[in-house]
C-alpha cells in the first residue's frame, strides 16, 4: 500500500514522528478499531481516530441523537437530533477523512452478538454508559482475545485503563461484578461535565493508536483516574487477580451473559453467583 501525495501531506505530522513514520502510518491505515457507543467517549475517540487515518472504524449504537446528548457528544450536531447516532457519526467521520471506512452496527451490544461484533477488529474502545455493557465488553474482549481500552466518566471524574486479555488486569480483576441496582448514579441522574468526555475519550483514542503502532507503554495494570475539579491525574496500580471470574485461574464466566439493566436506567440487576 502506497500513500498518495495528498495522504502524505494529510498525515505528515504523524509521519514526522520517528515512532510513527511511513511504516507506522501504514499500520494505522490497516487498523480496524471498534467503538462501542457513539456518545460522549465515542465522539472524541471517533474524531481523532478518523483524523489519524484509521483504516476501518466500527461504530455500535442503537440510539438516536437526543438534544441532551449535544452538551458532550460532539460528533452529533443540532440538525442530527432524532437521527441515528451511527449514521450521524459516520457522516462526520467521512467528511473529516474520506480514507476511513466506517462500518455501522446499528444494534445493541449484547451477549448474543458481542463476540461476532468484535471478531474482525484489532482494538475495542468502551464508550458505553452503563455497567452491564461495560462488564459485557470486558468479558467479550477477554474471551475473544481483543485489546480493550476502557473508559468511564461521571460528574467531574473520569477513568481510563487498557486491557490486554490474559496479559494484564481486566476490569473484573478489579471490579468483580456490576454494582447493585440503584447504588451508583448514572450520568443521566448525576450529570457530567461535557469536556470530561473529551479528555477521557481522547486518552482512549491515544491508547488505541499506541496499541496499533506497538509503541510506548500501554496503560495496562493501571487505572488512570482524572479529577477535573482538582485538575489532577492519579495512577492506581492493578494486577491480574487469580480469583478473577473471567481471566483468573478458575474462571466462572466462560460464556457471555447479559446483566440486566437498561442503559442509563437503574433497574433490578441480576448479578451472577
Amino acid at each position: 500500500m502506497d500513500f498518495t501525495d495528498e495522504q502524505v501531506t494529510r498525515y505528515s505530522r504523524h509521519i514526522l514522528l520517528p515512532e510513527v513514520g511511513g511504516k507506522g502510518q501504514k499500520k494505522i491505515a490497516k487498523a480496524k478499531i471498534l467503538i462501542v457507543g457513539a456518545g460522549g467517549l465515542g465522539s472524541p475517540a471517533a474524531f481523532y481516530l478518523a483524523a489519524a487515518g484509521v483504516g476501518t472504524i466500527g461504530l455500535i449504537d442503537s440510539d438516536a441523537v437526543d438534544l441532551s446528548n449535544l452538551q458532550r457528544q460532539i460528533i452529533h450536531y443540532t440538525p442530527d437530533v432524532g437521527r441515528s447516532k451511527v449514521l450521524s457519526a459516520k457522516e462526520k467521520i467521512q467528511a473529516l477523512n474520506p480514507d476511513v471506512q466506517v462500518v455501522m452496527h446499528e444494534e445493541r451490544f449484547v451477549a448474543g452478538n458481542a463476540l461476532k461484533l468484535i471478531v474482525g477488529y484489532d482494538v475495542v474502545i468502551d464508550g458505553v454508559d452503563n455497567f452491564p455493557a461495560k462488564f459485557l465488553i470486558n468479558d467479550a474482549c477477554v474471551l475473544g482475545g481483543k485489546p480493550l481500552v476502557h473508559g468511564g466518566i461521571l460528574r467531574f471524574d473520569g477513568r481510563v485503563t487498557t486491557i490486554l486479555p490474559k496479559k494484564s488486569a481486566c476490569y473484573r480483576c478489579v471490579f468483580k461484578q456490576p454494582p447493585p441496582s440503584g447504588l451508583v448514579a448514572s450520568c443521566q441522574e448525576a450529570g457530567v461535565i461535557g469536556a470530561l468526555a473529551g479528555v477521557i475519550g481522547t486518552l482512549q483514542a491515544t491508547e488505541a493508536l499506541k496499541i496499533v503502532l506497538g509503541i510506548g507503554r500501554p496503560l495496562t495494570d493501571r487505572l488512570l483516574d482524572y479529577d477535573a475539579k482538582k485538575a489532577t491525574f492519579r495512577e492506581i496500580k492493578t494486577k491480574r487477580n487469580p480469583h478473577c471470574p473471567v481471566c483468573g485461574e478458575h474462571p466462572t464466566i466462560t460464556t457471555l451473559i447479559d446483566h440486566e439493566q437498561e442503559a442509563c436506567e437503574l433497574k433490578q440487576v441480576k448479578v451472577e453467583a
Binding site: 465515542g42 454508559d129 477513568r159 478489579v174 471490579f175 468483580k176 448514579a185 468526555a197 492506581i236
Partner: protein, 66 residues
C-alpha cells in the same frame, strides 16, 4: 496509626478493612478495595486487618460514557 488511603496519609483506628469502610460510611458493595496493590476479596474485608503503613485504595465504580 497512619495508613495511606487513595494516596493520602490518614490517621485511622486499627481493625479490619471493613471497620475502616464502616467508619467512613462506605457501602462495601460500592467499592473495590486494594491493599498494598493486591485486591481484597469482598468476603475477606471483615477478616483483613489494617496495619500501620498500609496503602489502601478504595476504588469506586465510574460508569458513564455516553
Amino acid at each position: 496509626m497512619q495508613v495511606k488511603i487513595n494516596g493520602k496519609p490518614e490517621e485511622v483506628l486499627g481493625g479490619t478493612v471493613m471497620d475502616l469502610l464502616k467508619a467512613k460510611n462506605i457501602d462495601p458493595h460500592m467499592v473495590a478495595v486494594e491493599l498494598n496493590d493486591a485486591m481484597v476479596e469482598r468476603d475477606h474485608l471483615g477478616t483483613t486487618p489494617v496495619k500501620e503503613g498500609d496503602a489502601l485504595e478504595f476504588l469506586f465504580y465510574m460508569g458513564g460514557g455516553r
